[in-house]
């Protein structure tokens, strides 16, 4: 094995070669397969072991196993040399379980080849797909074809035909339809599929009638997201009374009282993630004292997101009791100066916010807090308030700015927000503390930072 000079055709052990090829993406695997017999054999095996395949023009580079370039011409999947190419390509990827198709025009035959050629295919994501020559095939034929896949998720499927066929698709788990011109509440009521678990749509397509039909048909619904339009109180109470299994709810409400919200929301016993948006002009009064007199603590809730609310420190006293298990809170556009008469006064506004933060910090399991769109004159100061006064929230902040490895994600999250000068300074300081970017220092970053801040405080005391 260790014949040091001189060439040979099998320099590497087969097992090791396979381990190496696991890290190489599809395009490179194809280009190196003619190196030697051994390479050919093992690239074939590595290709056959890929379980995720991505075909489409979506610019997001989510998965490295993208073979789009080889297959696409003019936004159409393979209409220059139909099926033969696709056929010869797909027979390699026999273990593909998840297939992403995005931003493509596709016809029935292509879809047929795909479904038949990938025997392991379990999950099919269709995103921004339109259909070539839809008149060729009937709804029943499409339904039969697509029902061979165990799980289908659809984001924006533009054809009316498909809207009609999805009704009888037991495999359809997730549906996202937005801005679709021919869609009406009537059509929605007709074709909403029964096995659906996740529905995300524009609220204007879902009226009281649709909700009533869904309540009977879609017993498995777990996540409902209605965006862009306000949901009325009547609709909201249907949702809370009928969809008992809902775990994730994302809606926009207007003209609802604190009492009504509390009474309705408390009926959802499995609710884990709640996102409520209120009207900007008619902010919802988030009064935990009132809410707690109409409901029990929401023990199932894990994350809460509120947009456009008004509240004050006095009204938040019950918050920690109300949200015993919540780990993530996100608040946007908070008006917290109700009982501060001098609301343009920098100092008083700060004081109110400070009190609000104190109550927030007492939520027992809170680990992640996101604040968005605060009054601009407050923004600079908020950061300080966290760090000075609230240990748990400070913990959260340090996680978001400079924790060990998910750093890149989190830094991105921070960078997407308007960056203030102090954060920038803080980050510059980090780079002076941590000189060498290696695994060890990254893992210990947080301890190092905490130690550093301790030293600074000690010096200050002296």
């Amino acid at each position: 094995m260790s014949g040091s000079d001189g060439q040979s055709s099998r320099v590497l052990n087969d097992d090791v070669l396979f381990l190496i090829f696991r890290h190489i993406d599809i395009t490179d695997l194809f280009s190196i397969q003619r190196v030697s017999q051994q390479f050919y054999e093992w690239t074939q095996k590595a290709l056959a072991a890929k379980t995720v395949l991505n075909i489409g023009l979506d610019s997001k580079e989510l998965f490295s196993f993208n073979i789009t370039k080889a297959l696409i011409r003019d936004r159409c999947l393979l209409n220059y040399n139909p099926y033969l190419v696709l056929d010869s390509m797909l027979h390699i990827f026999i273990s593909v379980k998840t297939l992403y198709l995005s931003r493509l025009t596709i016809d029935y035959e292509t879809m047929e080849v795909i479904v038949n050629r990938l025997p392991q295919l379990k999950i099919l994501y269709l995103s921004w797909i339109s259909i070539n020559r839809p008149q060729d095939k009937t709804v029943t034929e499409w339904t039969q074809l697509l029902s061979k896949v165990t799980q289908i998720e659809i984001h924006y499927f533009s054809e009316l035909l498909v809207m009609n066929c999805i009704r009888d698709l037991p495999s359809l788990q997730s549906l996202e339809v937005n801005h679709m011109r021919p869609l009406t509440p009537q059509l929605m009521a007709d074709c909403i599929p029964s096995g659906i678990r996740t529905l995300k749509t524009n609220a204007q397509y879902v009226d009281t009638n649709v909700l009533n039909i869904m309540a009977i048909r879609c017993v498995q619904l777990e996540a409902l997201s209605l965006c862009d339009f306000n949901v009325t109180l009547e609709q909201f109470s249907i949702i809370c009374n009928q969809f008992k299994r809902i775990k994730r709810l994302d809606i926009k409400l207007d003209g609802i009282s604190t009492q009504e919200l509390a009474q309705n929301i408390s009926k959802l016993k499995d609710l884990k993630h709640l996102k409520l948006e209120f009207s900007y002009y008619n902010k919802f009064c988030f009064d935990t004292n009132v809410m707690m007199s109409y409901m029990k603590p929401i023990t199932s809730l894990r994350s809460l997101s509120l947009d456009s609310i008004k509240c004050s420190a006095k009204r938040l006293t019950q918050l920690p009791q109300m949200l015993p298990n919540v780990t993530k809170i996100s608040i946007g556009d908070l008006n917290c100066h109700i009982d501060c008469s001098r609301l343009n006064d920098y100092f008083f506004a700060n004081e109110c916010l400070h009190k609000v933060m104190q109550w927030l910090s007492r939520v027992p399991k809170l680990r992640h807090l996101t604040l968005d769109r605060f009054a601009p004159f407050l923004r600079l100061k908020t950061f300080n308030l966290f760090v000075d006064l609230i240990p748990t929230v400070m913990d959260t902040m340090s996680t978001t700015t400079a924790d060990t490895n998910p750093l890149s994600n989190k830094i991105n999250k921070i960078l997407n927000k308007p960056m203030d000068r102090e954060t920038l300074e803080a980050l510059t300081c980090v780079s002076s503390v941590v000189k060498d970017n290696n695994l060890h220092s990254r893992r210990n970053l947080r301890t190092d930072i905490e130690r550093q801040s301790l030293t600074i405080n000690e010096e200050f005391v002296k």
């Binding site: 260790s2 397969q33 190196v35 030697s36 040399n81 695994l439 893992r443």
Partner: protein, 189 residues
Amino acid sequence: MADNADHIDGDDNEDVRAQQNLIKIKLKSSEGGIYECGLTAAKMSDLVKNMVESLGTDAVVTTEPIILGNEAVTDAALKKIIEWVEFHWDDPPVDHDFEDEKDRRNEELSHWDKQFIDVDDQALLFDVIAAANYMDIKGLVEVGAKHICSKIRGKSCQEVREMLKITNDFTAEEEDAIHKENAWIYAKD
């Protein structure tokens, strides 16, 4: 072992590991060379770990060398491997609290690992990887695989052959056939 237990007595564990590493055991390469290695470090190899544990913890063998019979475990390769485990045995354990564990796994090699694995003698490099695979040291195999992978990426067949000193054992016809079979992938290039 439960994650919780790991976290609670993490410091204790570190001490125990450090103490155990003072115990030196002997490893014998297929060429006959015998080398000393700390016990905790050596246990990074699942093969060695299983051998030591099947002998019972009390009777940790410090006199008799553990024989690593695979032909890839040459003297030079074993020395390299011991260097790696002695550097990495006190790596902090994987933190389960991070959801982004996958990202971390995909991250680049650390500076030390890069220098460690970038050896000029290619035969030695392959031996190290094959030996690490035989000894079941997952971290080191990963380091080696990623290193070679980064060398291969974006190269043509001829370049890969030259770099890894591989002879082309295809006949011209065979090579053509493969090229034709996958013509679609080159179609757009």
